[in-house]
């Protein structure tokens, strides 16, 4: 992807290259009538240059956070700075820097893809040959040059989301914020969006993406922040977070239910901390799984039912999330 900006050249002072992409300080939001605050004292710094994931289940507050970043709703407390500019008082400076892709496709169904891009491009202040070239580039990014002149209402969900995303790219923002861009989408469109996000990131664009798919965050993000019930639970690089769980568990699955005696025998193996049994599944916590794995396998092959699968050393963000939210004991 070529990066040339000419319609809205960055004014000196428009963007402070030293400032982090996004800084949230004590950010809270309560909706009138809402029982618990949707966001509760979030402190977060999103550095430049990475793909940063905001991870959390439905209702965690991701969209609320994104909407505050886009200046759509006002925070109840705290401050929000984007590229060093306050969202509330300096929104004019932020407009050129920031691209926001809302969760639900914000497009006009009776206009064509090209007309949608053209309109939103003009609303960003683009014009002339630059506008035309951006429309073309964005159609190519979304792989819909063949469908450019079809009405959007005829598009599948995946096409709509692809168009929705590239509209946020029309003005070549430095910081791109996407709210769950891959919900309810076909695998090809999801892969394409991931691919494009990596390309954009490689070209120097900071990306903040929210998702409730833990695997997506693992796959795509360099750093993540996990939020739940409006609170920031943990923040760090993906390898760092996964490392926390790396040594913890060996998960076994059998073709038939093992008996309690096997569990007790395994418990006696040195290095095994705890054995949890749930139907055909068994979860073994260990301080030294690399040492415990061989005697465990011997025991299982001697006394246990036929083994169906063994997972070891592949901690997931899902486990991290579950362990941090105290939602333990539930093997999945």
């Amino acid at each position: 992807m070529t990066q040339h900006r000419c319609a809205s050249p960055a004014q000196p002072g428009d963007t402070d290259a030293r400032a982090p992409a996004i800084e949230l300080l004590g950010l809270s939001k309560s909706f009138p009538g809402g029982r618990a605050p949707a966001l509760d004292g979030i402190d977060l710094v999103v550095p430049r240059g990475g793909i940063f994931g905001i991870l959390g289940p439905n209702g965690a507050g991701k969209t609320t956070l994104m909407s505050i970043l886009g200046g759509l709703i006002l925070p109840s407390a705290g401050s929000v700075r984007i590229a060093g500019h306050d969202v509330l008082t300096e929104s004019r400076h932020i407009r050129h820097i920031l691209g926001l892709v809302p969760q639900e496709p914000a497009i006009y169904p009776t206009l064509t893809a090209r007309e949608n891009l053209d309109f939103f491009g003009r609303m960003q202040g683009l014009s002339g040959a630059y506008l035309d070239s951006r429309v073309q580039a964005c159609l190519e990014l979304a792989e819909m040059t063949g469908e450019a002149d079809q009405r959007v209402e005829q598009f599948s969900g995946g096409y709509k989301r692809r168009l929705n995303m590239v509209i946020g790219l029309m003005h070549e923002p430095e910081i791109l914020i996407l709210d769950e861009p891959t919900v309810a989408i076909d695998p090809h469109s999801r892969a394409l969006i991931h691919h494009r996000l990596r390309e954009l990131n490689a070209a120097g664009i900071t990306i903040l993406i929210s998702t409730h798919y833990m695997e997506e965050a693992e796959l795509l993000c360099s750093d993540v922040a996990i939020i739940d019930h409006g609170r920031l639970i943990v923040q760090g690089s993906v390898p760092e977070l996964l490392a926390r769980r790396r040594d913890e568990a060996i998960e076994l699955q059998f073709f038939s239910e093992p008996d309690g005696a096997l569990a007790q025998a395994l418990q006696a193996i040195p290095g095994v901390r705890q054995v949890e049994l749930a139907g055909c599944r068994m979860r073994i916590s260990s301080d030294r799984p690399e040492l415990a794995i061989a005697p465990i396998m011997q025991r299982v092959q001697a006394d246990g039912p036929t083994l169906r699968s063994l997972v070891y050393g592949r901690a997931s963000l899902e486990q991290v999330f579950l362990s941090l939210t105290g939602d333990r004991g539930e093997l999945r």
Partner: protein, 421 residues
């Protein structure tokens, strides 16, 4: 500012495209008012006030062609509101059928020998035959009328028939008197004086007394053309507010907010295409009223002689309607809410404002209440032009009221739009 104007233009293009692609709505916008005007102007033609050119088809079946038959024929022939047809020997049944078929609206049946009968009756009266011994009964001239003929028009026709019969009575009586006097007084009698020269009373001419501007009441088309134009204009608040809320529901409005597009660009993008549609609605209704309605037998609409006043009224009524639609859109939560509220409100404002029922036939208290409806301001303005021959200065109060209403609506809409949750 220049940048924002470019955005406004793009907004207008976008909303015009969206509107033009909604074929069904477009057809409705333009056919609704035109059809209403055609249908109602034609069917309610006679319910409205004076129609200087109005004429009724009247049939006189005169089986008598002497003084009585001829006198009646002459009376109706000289009445400018009557298109007279004559028949000598149609039966009553035939006449009834013609009436039902709508061929005639008023039929006068003069029985055969009416003049002879009247003269015999007169002879008995002159001879002082006591009432109970008189052989001849008074002549009965019968009348059949179409029920849709306005009752006051019918009274007028019956009245002029009565007047004609009175005249015939006078004439026959005088002739009889003259004959008797000539016989009794012989050569001393030099004839009766000319009664036509001896009228005791001047002919009656009524003077219309009204409060305010007053003047003539509107004809059917003068009332209906502006009334349905206004109602159609205000009905566009339904699609206007719905399109606005759709934009909110689709999220495109939020997207525009993140791009810090000023509210007047968003509002203007919608207002301009709807304004243009409103003007086309008005022009098409007026064109149909002027050119098509007469071809179908209706009275043509006279547009008055103040085209600028007409333009001003059309523009300010449209701006008032658009302002109302935008205010509804900003306050309603769902498209259903907006559509329901705006259509109900427009109907109520229309009923109050003398759109559905002319103000002239309302109770005085309702006429006073009409002042609260912006549609009534619009209608008054148009009637100033069409009925009272008013000009720019005459419609200025109504136009300013509509513009103030529009400004008020836009102001509260923008204030609400700016308030972020």
């Amino acid at each position: 500012m220049k940048g924002n104007l470019a955005k406004l233009r793009a907004s207008i293009v976008k909303d015009a495209r969206i509107l033009l692609r909604d074929r069904q709505a477009l057809i409705l916008f333009f056919t609704m008012p035109v059809l209403f005007v055609l249908i109602l102007s034609l069917s309610l033609r006679d319910v409205f006030g004076d129609r200087p050119g109005a004429t009724f088809p009247v049939l006189v079946v005169a089986q008598d062609r002497q003084e009585v038959g001829q006198g009646i024929i002459d009376t109706f022939r000289n009445n400018p509101h009557v298109r007279l047809s004559l028949d000598e020997d149609a039966s009553e049944a035939e006449a009834r059928q013609w009436l039902i078929d709508g061929q005639y609206r008023f039929v006068v049946l003069v029985p055969a020998g009416a003049t002879e009968q009247a003269k015999r009756r007169l002879g008995e009266v002159m001879a002082d035959v006591p009432v109970e011994l008189r052989l001849e009964r008074p002549v009965e001239v019968r009348v059949l009328a179409d029920p849709s003929l306005r009752s006051d028009y019918r009274k007028v026709l019956e009245g002029s028939l009565d007047l004609a019969l009175h005249g015939i009575e006078m004439k026959l009586g005088r002739e009889q008197l003259e004959q008797t006097l000539r016989v009794t007084q012989g050569t001393h009698f030099s004839g009766l004086p000319d009664f036509d020269q001896a009228r005791l009373f001047l002919p009656v001419h009524g003077e219309t007394v009204t409060k305010g501007v007053g003047g003539p009441t509107p004809t059917s088309v003068q009332q209906n053309a502006p009334a349905w134009t206004l109602l159609a204009m205000f009905f566009l608040t339904v699609p206007l507010s719905v399109s606005f809320i759709k934009e909110r529901e689709q999220g495109s409005l939020f997207r525009l907010q993140t791009m810090t597009v000023p509210p007047w660009v968003v509002l203007g993008g919608k207002a301009v295409p709807y304004f243009v549609i409103n003007q086309i609605q008005m022009i098409s209704v007026l064109a149909v009223s002027v050119y098509v309605l007469p071809l179908l037998g209706g009275d043509p609409l006279g547009l008055g002689n103040a085209p600028l006043a007409l333009v001003l009224m059309g523009a300010s009524a449209s701006l008032a309607a658009i302002g109302f639609g935008i205010a509804v859109a900003v306050f309603a939560r769902t498209t259903e809410q907006a559509a329901g509220f705006s259509s109900a409100t427009v109907m109520i404002m229309g009923a109050l404002g003398g759109i559905l029922v002319p103000k002239a036939v309302m109770l005085p208290i309702m006429q006073d209440l009409a002042v609260i409806s912006p549609l009534s301001w619009g209608l008054d303005g148009f009637l100033d032009i069409f009925v009272r021959g008013g000009g720019l200065a005459d419609v200025l109060p109504e136009a300013l009221a509509l513009l103030a209403f529009s400004a008020f609506c836009h102001a509260i809409a923008i204030a609400r739009y700016r308030r972020r949750g």
